[in-house]
Symmetry: C3
Subunit: 106 residues, 3 copies
């Protein structure tokens, strides 16, 4: 099978807003997303280095990934999530370029 | 140390076929893989948006990553997994380009 | 919002050295990182294929991701982690190129 270019949007943020982020993804027209439990330290974090080992057991964040084959949709999701949530909640969003099989699935 | 180009194959699919997917990866000659528990919603999913928050606690999927320094091997793994499993099981597979240290490890 | 190029460093290694890896990341000047529990099989692994299904329940590894907008910092983190730990512990490190919003956060 041939590979096709697509965009992957990643959102790492607080678990409590997962539902709202997924609603933005659905409304944008993406066909699916993947959610992974995550811990870590962000640029707003106040955890000191000496505490960093504890974050492994503290999966209060989620990493949400969405693949779309439409760069405009990718940027729309990133902007919507950042505008709606990143004033009030910790989070980052970024995009990667990937090669997919079966573009009709996305 | 110098960086070297390599390919990363990602397979996101149902947890129950992990063993079979890993066997394909091993048979292809890859030296290792990483498995992460995942939830989410796929293009076959019937979950409604109103239920999407529940997926966080429902890690019935896995995200499997394999790095190889051989694009043909990467495409072989993607095609084999898609052919063998994606008629019967939910799943996606895609490829990314990465820069690695120590290419002899892959 | 405009997208900006950045580097993402990924380190997949044994859970027990998470604290030390995160200290290297902090000392390098990165503003945050994300940690995900992971299982898998590495190039030093002695697990046979027949055992590979069990790795799903065996999350003794971590996948640590750091985004920096400075390729030198990215390579510094990779080299430091490899030099300090990868003689004694299993692990790989690689880099991807990503597009970020809000570069001032990284």
């Amino acid at each position: 099978m041939t590979l096709h270019k697509a965009e992957k949007v990643i959102i790492i943020t607080e678990k409590m807003i997962t539902k709202g982020v997924c609603a933005i993804i659905d409304e944008a027209g993406a066909t699916g997303y993947t959610i992974v439990a995550a811990g870590g330290k962000g640029s707003r974090g106040i955890r000191s280095t000496s505490e960093s080992a504890s974050v492994i057991d503290d999966f209060a964040n989620v990493k949400i990934e969405v693949i779309v084959n439409n760069k405009q949709m990718a940027e729309h999701i990133m902007n919507k999530v950042a505008e709606k949530y990143f004033q009030s909640y910790s989070g980052i969003t970024y995009m990667e370029y990937v090669d997919i099989l079966r573009p009709e699935k996305f």
